[in-house]
C-alpha cells in the first residue's frame, strides 16, 4: 500500500515548542512506533483566543465569582443551579450603602481593546481612515457571561499579535506623512530629540489616552533619533508609530488607579477612557480629557453629564447609526446571540438576513425612540419593524413602506420573544431540543437563573426526551420523560415546560394553533421560582406581559448589561447592590433601557478598585 501524503498539521509544531523539554524529548524520541508526529491536531483553531498553540491562559473571571462550581446531579435532590433561584430574593433584601466596603471592591485590571475599539482609536488618534481589522481573530464568548468582551479572557495571542503587527505597520505608514506635515522638523533626518519631543508628547498622549511620563518620552525620542539615522525620516516616524501602536499602553485600557496596594480610585484619564469606550467604543475626546485633567470626573454628576453627551453624539456618516446606538446594538446582538442564520431548504438568503435585520431594527427603534423604550416595551410591543419577507411569516399585514413598522396580529406575538430570528435561532432538528432552547432562553437570559450543565459523562440523546414516539406532541414526550427520568427532570422542569408554551411557533417562527397532524398545543403554564413574575400564564404573550414589568426581569436585564458594559462577570449575589442600583436608576428614569448607560456613572464600584 502506498500511503498518500496529507496536509502538514501546522498546529502541532507550536504546541511542541511550548512543552517542557523532557516532555518534548519523551515525545520525540519515544514517540515510538505506531504513532505519528506528536499528538492529535488541536481542534482549537487560531480564530479564537482560547488555549491552543498560542499558550493563552483563560483564567477565572475577575470580579464577582460565579456563585460556585456546579455540583453533579445527585439522585432525588434538585441540583443547585449555577445562579440560584434565590438571587432575586437576596437582591431585594440586600442592605446597600452608597459606597462599597473595601473588601467588596472589584480588583483593578487591564482590559484589551476590542477590534472595533482598536480601529476607532487608531483612526481617531492618527487622523486616518480605512483601518482594516478583518484579519483579527475573533474573541471567544465567555462561558459565564455569554459576551465576548471579557477582560480576563481577551489576551494578545500569537495570531492576534501578528495581525496587530501587520495592521499597525499599515496604519503607521499612512499616518507618518500627516505627522511630518504637522511637525515640519521631522522631515529632516536624523531627527534630534529637541525636534521630536513635541511630536512624541502629542502623539503619545493621543495613542495612550494619557500624558507620557518623562521616561517614555526619552525612550521614544531616542528610538526616533536612532531609526532616523538609518532610514529616511518618514520611515523612522512610521517605525515609532508602529512601535507605539504595539505597546500595551495602546492595546490595553487600564483601570489601575495609582497601582498602590489597597483601595484605589481610577485616575481621571482612566475614567475618561472608561466612559468613552463604554459608550462609543472610542478614545476620550477633548472635553472628557479636560474634565479629567481638572479632576472633575470623580463627581458622579459630571460623569452623568458626560454620559448623556456621549449618548447624544451624532452619527459619523449619513445613514450610519450614532456611535452610542452602535454600541448598544452590539450589546443586543450578543445578548440574543444574533448569529447569521444558515441558509437551508426552507430559509433562503433573503429571509436569513431579513429576520436578523428585524430584531436589530426593532431594538434600535424602540430603545432610541425620543421617550426611550423600556425592557417592558421590548417584551410586549405589539408591533415590529421589518420588511415584507418577514411580514409574510407573521400573517397578512404588510409593513409601512417608509418606516417599516408592522402591527402584529393580536394575541399572536409579543415583542422580541416571538420574533422570527429568536424562534428560528432556538429551533433545532429535534423537537425536544427546540423546546429546551426556548425554555432556556427565558430561564437564563430573562431570569438570570442558570441551571448546571448535564452530568460530565452525559451524551445528549433526544430519544430519551422523545420516548412517546415521533407522532407524539412535545408535551406528551415531556410528560413521559418527567415520569421515567425524574433525576434529569429535577433540572429540566425549570425550563422545558416554558419551552412547551412556545410550541405555537414552528421552527420558522410561524404561528399555529395546532400541530400539522391536528393535535392541539397546550400553551398555558406556570412559571415557578421567578420572583415577582412567578405564577400561572395563559400563553407566551401573557408570560411576556408578566416578565416585562417585573423587578426580576428588569434586574436580570440590568445584570446582563452590566456584564457586557463592564467586561466581566457581575454576580447577582455578591454584587447585588450594583445591580439593584442600576435597575432602580433605570426605573426612576422612566424605565428607558438606554439609561442603563447613565446608571453606570453612579456605580461606585466601577471607579473604586482593590489593587493587589
Amino acid at each position: 500500500m502506498i500511503s498518500s501524503s496529507g496536509v502538514r498539521p501546522a498546529l502541532m509544531r507550536p504546541l511542541i515548542e511550548t512543552l517542557h523539554p523532557c516532555l518534548v524529548a519523551l515525545l520525540v524520541g519515544a514517540a515510538g512506533c505506531g504513532t505519528g508526529v506528536i499528538g492529535a491536531p488541536s481542534s482549537g483553531t487560531t480564530t479564537n483566543g482560547v488555549a491552543g498553540s498560542s499558550g493563552a491562559a483563560v483564567g477565572a473571571s475577575s470580579g464577582g465569582s460565579t456563585g460556585g462550581a456546579a455540583p453533579a446531579a445527585t439522585s432525588g435532590a434538585q441540583p443547585a443551579p449555577v445562579h440560584g433561584f434565590d438571587w432575586y430574593d437576596g437582591l431585594e433584601a440586600a442592605t446597600c450603602t452608597t459606597t462599597t466596603p473595601s473588601s467588596a471592591l472589584p480588583p483593578t485590571r487591564i482590559w484589551r481593546l476590542s477590534a472595533n475599539q482598536w480601529a476607532n482609536t487608531v483612526q481617531t488618534a492618527l487622523g486616518i481612515t480605512g483601518v482594516d481589522t478583518s484579519a483579527f481573530p475573533g474573541d471567544e464568548i465567555d462561558a459565564v457571561t455569554g459576551f465576548s468582551d471579557n477582560s480576563t479572557d481577551n489576551m494578545i495571542t500569537q495570531p492576534l499579535a501578528q495581525a496587530y503587527f501587520d495592521a499597525a505597520g499599515a496604519a503607521a505608514t499612512s499616518a507618518a506623512p500627516i505627522a511630518v506635515a504637522a511637525y515640519a522638523c521631522l522631515g529632516t533626518a536624523p531627527i534630534a530629540a529637541s525636534c521630536s519631543q513635541p511630536f512624541v508628547t502629542d502623539y503619545g498622549a493621543r495613542l495612550f489616552r494619557r500624558p507620557l511620563v518623562s521616561a517614555e518620552t526619552t525612550e521614544y525620542t531616542t528610538f526616533l533619533a536612532q531609526q532616523s539615522a538609518l532610514d529616511p525620516s518618514a520611515v523612522a516616524v512610521a517605525s515609532l508609530l508602529q512601535a507605539m501602536l504595539l505597546s500595551p499602553n495602546f492595546e490595553y485600557r487600564t483601570e489601575l488607579g495609582n497601582s498602590m496596594p489597597g483601595p484605589v480610585t481610577l485616575t481621571g484619564n482612566e475614567i475618561a477612557s472608561l466612559l468613552s469606550y463604554t459608550l462609543i467604543d472610542g478614545p476620550p475626546d477633548a472635553e472628557l480629557l479636560q474634565d479629567a485633567a481638572a479632576g472633575m470626573l470623580s463627581d458622579a454628576t459630571v460623569r452623568e453629564t458626560e454620559v448623556r453627551r456621549l449618548m447624544a453624539l451624532p452619527a459619523a456618516s449619513p445613514g450610519a447609526l450614532p456611535p452610542a446606538q452602535l454600541k448598544l446594538a452590539d450589546f443586543w446582538q450578543q445578548y440574543l446571540t444574533l448569529d447569521p442564520i444558515p441558509v437551508t431548504a426552507t430559509i433562503d438568503a433573503a429571509l436569513a438576513t431579513a429576520v436578523i435585520q428585524e430584531t436589530e431594527n426593532f431594538f434600535n427603534k424602540v430603545v432610541w425612540a425620543p421617550q426611550g423604550g423600556s425592557f417592558n416595551d421590548l417584551l410586549t410591543a405589539q408591533y415590529t419593524y421589518t420588511d415584507p419577507v418577514v411580514a409574510a411569516l407573521y400573517g397578512t399585514a404588510t409593513p409601512d413602506p417608509t418606516t417599516g413598522m408592522l402591527s402584529l396580529s393580536p394575541g399572536q406575538r409579543t415583542g422580541f420573544l416571538t420574533q422570527a430570528s429568536v424562534l428560528i435561532g432556538t429551533s433545532a432538528p429535534s423537537q425536544a431540543a427546540t423546546v429546551i432552547h426556548r425554555g432556556l432562553l427565558v430561564r437564563e437570559r430573562l431570569l438570570c437563573q442558570i441551571p448546571p450543565p448535564p452530568p460530565a459523562n452525559f451524551l445528549p440523546n433526544p430519544t430519551q426526551i422523545e420516548q412517546a414516539g415521533p407522532d407524539a406532541t412535545a408535551l406528551q414526550n415531556y410528560d413521559l420523560f418527567a415520569m421515567t427520568m425524574p433525576t434529569c427532570n429535577s433540572c429540566h422542569v425549570n425550563f422545558q415546560p416554558i419551552g412547551l408554551s412556545f410550541e405555537t411557533y414552528d421552527t420558522l417562527g410561524q404561528y399555529r394553533t395546532a400541530y400539522p397532524d391536528g393535535q392541539g398545543i397546550i400553551i398555558s403554564g406556570n412559571l415557578t421560582n421567578a420572583g415577582d413574575a412567578t405564577g400561572p400564564y395563559t400563553d407566551v404573550i401573557d408570560l411576556a406581559s408578566k416578565l416585562g414589568p417585573s423587578h426580576i426581569g428588569q434586574y436580570c436585564f440590568a445584570d446582563q448589561f452590566a456584564q457586557y458594559a463592564l467586561g466581566r462577570s457581575v454576580d447577582l449575589v455578591q454584587e447585588a447592590c450594583t445591580v439593584r442600583s442600576m435597575g432602580d436608576f433605570v426605573t426612576g428614569e422612566g424605565g428607558a433601557v438606554r439609561e442603563l448607560f447613565t446608571s453606570l456613572a453612579h456605580v461606585d464600584s466601577v471607579y473604586q478598585r482593590l489593587y493587589q
Partner: protein, 472 residues
C-alpha cells in the same frame, strides 16, 4: 460590532455547554520559561540525509586501518573524499534492528524510521513490507525544531511515489513525498523570490528585518515596564503578549532569512536546466549521467545555500530509487544499478565500484559547497543506503561528514564488531537483532542529539543503547 465573534449554529445550548465544560484549559504558563531555555541550549545545526540505492561494494567502499581509530585509509571508491578526510567519519558494523520480513530493498522504509509493525518483528508479513511505522529521522527532528524538512529527488526519477522511493515518513504510514521541481523547491524554501536580487535589494531586505526587530525590541521593553504596574493577576496578559511577540519575531526572522539568501545564481541555473530526463516505471534512457549530475549539483547547492542562510535546516536527497537506479559509472539507464548489485551484468563488481565512485564525487561536491558557504561545521551529512551489499541490513558502511560544531567527532574510522554471518534475507534478521551488534537506531539518536533533540531513543526504543559515543 465586534470582530468575528465565535459562533455556533445552536446558540443557547452551546453557551450552556460551554459553561459545563469550564472556561477553557491551559497549561502553558509554567512552561514558558522552559521554552526559551531550550532554544538557548540547542546549537542551530543542519541535517542532510544523502541516500543512494542498492548498497555498496564494501571491498572497495569504506575505510581500512589498524582497528578503529583516527588513522585510516580510504578505500578506492571514496578517493574523492581524500581531501576531506579530516571532515568525515566512516562507520562500519551498524545493523538495522527493525527490518521488514525479507530484509531487502523494501527496507528503504525502515532505515530512517527504525520501527517494526505494531506487534514486533514476528508480526511482519509480506503485507507490511512497504510501510514505515513511525516518522523518519528527518521528519522527527523537523517536528522538534519546528522546521519543515526538504525531501528532493534527482532526475531521471519517477514522477510519483512508489515503494522504492518511500524513504522519508511524516508519521507512521504517512509517507513524505519527494519534490523534484525547482520552482516548487525555491518557493517553499526561499519564499518564492522572483528573479535575481541585486545587492541593494538584499541590503534593503536586511535593513527591513533589523527595523522590525528594533520595533519589537522597543515593544518588549514597554511590555516589561507595563507589567510592573499591573496587579499580580493581570501579569499573565503581559506574559502571553511577550510570548506572542517572540513568535512574531521568529516569523520575521524566517521570512527575512529566506529573502536574504543569495538565490540569484541558483535561479539562473534552474532556468538553464534542460528538460528533466525521464524515468518511466523503473526504466530510464542511457547516456543521461551528465544531466543527472547537473540536476544533482543544483539540488546540493540549493540545500547548501538554504543551510548557509538559515532558510532551511533539514534536507534529504534521494539520488535514485531502491531496487532500480541509474548505472552512473557506465552511463546506462535504470534499473541497471540494481542489476549490477545482483551481478546480473558482466563486470558487475567493477561497475558497482564505478557507481560508488561517482556518488562519492557528488558527496565531495556537496561537502565543498557547504564548506564554501561556511555551513559544513554546522551540518551533519549522513550517507545511507537501504541494504548493505546483498539483501540484508547488517554490518553496514555509513559515511558521516560535517557537524564538527555540533560535537561530531570527525577524521576517524569507527568499526563496531559484527557478530554472526553475513547472510541474506530473513535469516539475517536475528543476526542483526543480536544485542551485541550495534544498531542503526543509535546512529539516529546521536544525530538527533547533535541537532539539539535530547532524547536517547528513536523509533522502537528497545533497540536504543543511548547513541554512538564514539561518534559524538
Amino acid at each position: 460590532m465586534t470582530g468575528k465573534a465565535s459562533s455556533g449554529s445552536s446558540r443557547f445550548s452551546r453557551r450552556h455547554l460551554l459553561r459545563g465544560l469550564g472556561a477553557g484549559t491551559v497549561l502553558l504558563s509554567p512552561f514558558l520559561k522552559y521554552r526559551s531555555a531550550m532554544a538557548q541550549t540547542a546549537p542551530a545545526g543542519n541535517l542532510l540525509i544523502f541516500y543512494t540505492p542498492n548498497g555498496h561494494l564494501r571491498e572497495q567502499f569504506g575505510a581500512a586501518g589498524p582497528d578503529a581509530g583516527s588513522s585510516f585509509t580510504l578505500l578506492p571508491s571514496l578517493a574523492a573524499l581524500q581531501p576531506y578526510q579530516d571532515d568525515i567519519t566512516i562507520i562500519k558494523g551498524l545493523c538495522s534492528k527493525t527490518p521488514t520480513n525479507i530484509a531487502s530493498h523494501q527496507d528503504i522504509v525502515r532505515i530512517l524510521t527504525c520501527c517494526n509493525v505494531p506487534g514486533g518483528q514476528s508480526a511482519e508479513t509480506d503485507n507490511t513490507q512497504f510501510t514505515a511505522y513511525g516518522p523518519s529521522i528527518d521528519q522527527s527532528i523537523g517536528v522538534a525544531l519546528n522546521q519543515q524538512p526538504l525531501v528532493v529527488a534527482v532526475d531521471p526519477y519517477r514522477d510519483q511515489p512508489y515503494w522504492r522511493t518511500l524513504l522519508s515518513w511524516r508519521a507512521s504510514m504517512v509517507n513524505e513525498p519527494f519534490v523534484k521541481d525547482f520552482t516548487t523547491i525555491f518557493a517553499s524554501v526561499f519564499g518564492g523570490v522572483a528573479g535575481a536580487q541585486s545587492a541593494a535589494q538584499m541590503a534593503a531586505v536586511v535593513r527591513a528585518q533589523q527595523r522590525k526587530q528594533s520595533i519589537l525590541d522597543l515593544v518588549t521593553s514597554d511590555i516589561a515596564t507595563f507589567r510592573a504596574r499591573v496587579s499580580t493577576a493581570d501579569r499573565v496578559h503581559l506574559d502571553t503578549y511577550l510570548d506572542s511577540i517572540r513568535a512574531v519575531e521568529q516569523r520575521i526572522a524566517t521570512v527575512s532569512s529566506g529573502t536574504a539568501c543569495n538565490t540569484a545564481t541558483l535561479q539562473t541555473r534552474a532556468a538553464a536546466l534542460p528538460t528533466p530526463p525521464i524515468q518511466s516505471n523503473d526504466t530510464s534512457a542511457d547516456g543521461l549521467v551528465a544531466q543527472m549530475q547537473m540536476f544533482g549539483e543544483l539540488h546540493m547547492d540549493t540545500i547548501a545555500t538554504a543551510f548557509g542562510c538559515g532558510a532551511s535546516r533539514i534536507a534529504t536527497i534521494q539520488w535514485q530509487g531502491a531496487s532500480e537506479g541509474y548505472d552512473v559509472g557506465a552511463n546506462v539507464g535504470s534499473p541497471t544499478h540494481h542489476s549490477a548489485s545482483h551481478y546480473q551484468v558482466p563486470n558487475a563488481a567493477m561497475r558497482l565500484q564505478a557507481i560508488d565512485t561517482w556518488y562519492a564525487q557528488q558527496f565531495a561536491y556537496l561537502m565543498n559547497s557547504l564548506k564554501t558557504l561556511g555551513a559544513l561545521d554546522t551540518t551533519v551529512i549522513v550517507w545511507v543506503s537501504e541494504i548493505t551489499e546483498g539483501h540484508n541490513q547488517n554490518n553496514m558502511v555509513v559515511v558521516v561528514a560535517g557537524g564538527a560544531s555540533l560535537g561530531i567527532k570527525l577524521g576517524q574510522y569507527i568499526q563496531y564488531p559484527f557478530f554472526g554471518q553475513e547472510i541474506e534475507g530473513a535469516g539475517a534478521i536475528p543476526i542483526g537483532q543480536d544485542p551485541r551488534n550495534k544498531g542503526l537506531t543509535d546512529l539516529w539518536v546521536t544525530v538527533q542529539n547533535a541537532m539539539g533533540v535530547s532524547s536517547k531513543t528513536f523509533g522502537d526504543p528497545q533497540w536504543a543503547t543511548g547513541g554512538l559515543p564514539e561518534l559524538r
